[in-house]
């Protein structure tokens, strides 16, 4: 298969950024989208690989930077906005699990970073998502010290409840929800964590406080408000639903009333 890749290029946080279009040919249907970027980068290196590359005087912008690691859909590193959709056209996958058989041969594909106020661009398609870490540091944990736990089977958790908690815990922290939301809200991400812990007996004691602290942190870090557009849910690669936002709201209200 052959494609035209129209890719966002930006040298650093301060650079204005622009699109560049490249042609890649001879791609296998079974290749993943990130493998196509690998192939493109090989090509760019070959072409621009004259003694002095980019910043050292060469014209090409050099290979394209993008975040990735596991390439199995679980680490949450990959984060591309493809043809206007977070993680591209296939449903329920991160972009590392997007395969070229989902594209029309010869298509022009637009590739952008996950854009949001709270995720400044570092370079090309790479953004800074440390705000997510900060939200979780504000309360996304159960306060248990190493070595102080009781026997695991002393806490009984019905099968369905454990499964529901697991559904929420499947969030990979990719930020597709934020990049998709017109307000740039991180509500789905926050709700997934709050909900997963609130569904477990171990997580109950701190549930309300956790919700309040995490939401406060989210606001402080420049994420927008949730206005229930539900766009996030549609683009979440891990099927996190807005039902978790409802649970978060309940915990949040409890926290308010107890103040």
């Amino acid at each position: 298969m052959d494609f035209n890749l129209k890719i966002w290029r930006q040298k650093n946080a301060k650079d204005k950024g622009h699109f560049e279009t490249y042609r890649v040919t001879g791609i296998e249907e079974d290749a993943s989208f990130l493998e196509v970027l690998d192939i493109l980068n090989e090509q760019l290196i070959r072409e621009g690989c004259d003694p002095v590359a980019v910043e050292r005087g060469c014209k090409s912008s050099g290979p394209v930077s993008f975040d990735h690691d596991c390439r199995e859909g679980i680490c949450g590193a990959c984060s591309l906005f493809i043809d206007g959709r977070a993680h591209g056209p296939d449903e329920g996958v991160t972009v590392c699990q997007l395969f070229m058989r989902h594209f029309k041969d010869g298509a022009t594909i637009t590739v952008e970073p996950f854009r949001s106020r709270a995720f400044p661009i570092i370079k090309d398609l790479v953004v800074d998502r440390t705000a997510f870490d900060k939200i979780l540091q504000a309360g996304g944990f159960i306060s248990v010290r190493t070595g102080s736990a009781q026997d695991a089977n002393n806490i009984l958790i019905p099968h369905e409840q454990a499964e529901e908690s697991m559904d929420a815990a499947a969030c990979v922290g990719c930020g597709a929800c934020v990049a998709t939301c017109k307000n740039g809200s991180a509500m789905l991400f926050v709700a997934a964590r709050v909900s997963s812990l609130a569904l477990l007996p171990q997580g109950r004691p701190e549930a309300a406080r956790r919700a309040r602290n995490m939401v406060a942190k989210m606001d402080e870090l420049g994420f927008g408000n949730c206005t229930n557009t539900r766009a996030c849910e549609l683009e979440c690669p891990k099927g996190i639903t807005v039902a978790h936002i409802a649970r978060l709201n309940r915990e949040f209200l409890k926290a308010k009333f107890s103040e």
């Binding site: 290749a31 690989c49 930077s65 690691d69 596991c70 199995e72 944990f141 070595g147 477990l200």
Partner: protein, 648 residues
Amino acid sequence: MADKLISKIPDGPLAEKWTKRKSELRLVNPNNRRKLEIIVVGTGLGGASAAASLGELGYNVKIFCISDSPRRAHSIAAQGGINAAKNYQNDNDSVYRLFYDTIKGGDYRSREANVYRLAEVSGPIIDQCVAQGVPFAREYGGYLDNRSFGGVQVSRTFYARGQTGQQLLLGAYAALNRQVAAGTVTSYPRYEMLDLVVIDGQAKGIIARNLVTGKLERFGAHAVVIATGGYGNAYFLSTYAMYSNGSAAMQCYRRGAYFGNPCFAQIHPTCIPVHGEQQSKLTLMSESLRNDGRIWVPKKTEDVMKLRKREIKASQIPEEDRDYYLERRYPAFGNLVPRDVASRAAKERCDAGFGVNENGLAVFLDFSDAIKRLGRQRVQERYGNLFDMYFKITDVSPWEEPMMIYPAIHYTMGGIWVDYDLQTTIPGLYAIGEANFSDHGGNRLGASALMQGLADGYFILPVTLPDYLSNKFFEPKADTNAPEFEQTEKEVQARIDRLFAVNGKVSVDTLHKKLGNIMWEYVGMTRNEAGLKEGIKRIRELRDYFWENVCVPGTQYTFNQELEKALRLVDFFDIGELMAIDALHRKESCGGHFREESQTPDGETKRDDKNFMYVAAWEYKGEGKEPVLHKEPLDYQFIKVATRNYKD
């Protein structure tokens, strides 16, 4: 210098060794802890759990990782589960049995005392994780559920769907976040360690590159902990994450830490086969699938040919024409033989011409019996996400046709040599998780890496490290203006400058793939003397070629992924070479290390206990010089060393 290899194993009965050691270890008073700084490199299960636990104790911890968040460490990808000797299933499991299975699974090349301790702390790990909110699978009554993994006859594996590593890591990461909030831990994401700083023979800090600005930075501490994972990406194609690397381990090796059993690498039997030239990594299909899936190839060559030409489908081949070769060769363990055995058996069938995909390098993993026996619902609950993943990648549904699988590099049992306290041969330098060599001998059993990483991080290092620190609190932490920091940084800078100066035309990935091919062909699933010698020669030639032809575009002072990869590849050459040297010297077969010269008449591994019952610890002697071998004898006092037998 062999005296450096003091394993510090406490004497006394096996079951009392750890208790004894704990009672001897010195403590640090809480007021003094905050004066002590500890660097932890790596945020996988090992690093995150260690940093969180040390932070809780009140030490001042700095933790580093390559990715943009600690949560993305390679551990996140572990699928199948984590072992613990809880005996919740009442199937007569015990600490002793987990210990015994692990030693036997490792083909009698690990330390009894270490492995026993690992089994001892396995139970508390599960308690800890449940308390953190890890949503392990539950039975309807609310109790924890278990499954079986290869090489054992009990059900002791705890799991969270096919995402156990993710959930355990999120638990450890949450504990880490709690300490970041408490101010005891500072997190440095997008920082890569590029060298270790040793002052007066002790580890005192690191040089790291800020991957966003590209600047080199110096960090001083009272002790350094390496938790940087395994080095299997030397083979390029593997189940590892793309950033997994062996560089930190090599940096420590070059600064004097001995490297243990480098040739012990694990090849996992159930991975999605290679599909073409453009592939960047291999995807694991969890071993848990072997609980219910049956592995086979056709008995008849005609069927193989038709499959390859896509004239028939696997499901059309009648039962009597299928060769369930694992069940045939190993009736007692069947499809659940250890990984090394299952991998070689697959290779044997494919080499004999029965491989089922176009290039003849695949076997079937079939669920049709399981679906009939358990029903779709149960199979969906157990393996649903793995089936989805397989379908997404291959476009073939395992509900209709069997999966195709083939072995791939997956784990490295070898690593930095450590004593019983997890300290390396450099005082003040510790290694935990997959980065050390400690517990798995010649082969690791499934679901035991997560157990080991968390055992090291939650329960062992936080007890042993204070012993070293106990007389350090009056010393200020290392001064980063000291000449040793200056010099080490200079050397790192020189390495970077040298890379840019090559100005060649060949990309880093192209050269990495070449290295991978050499490794797979000569240092792969089976090895022999002539091949290993050839492999070493080719690795050296490729390294020379690299230094004349590599292209590293861009500059140092930007986000530059090509530079990152080039720096890692430089170290992969050294690791690959060291693996081959070790494999060449170990003339026996054991565990995952199969020397063709040393096999039984029916093609099983043949150990040579008389000559090779030791840990090979290699000492670096300088660039271009042969490393020196030191031997730590393995003295089995508590179990009878036997031939590993999975047939009856």
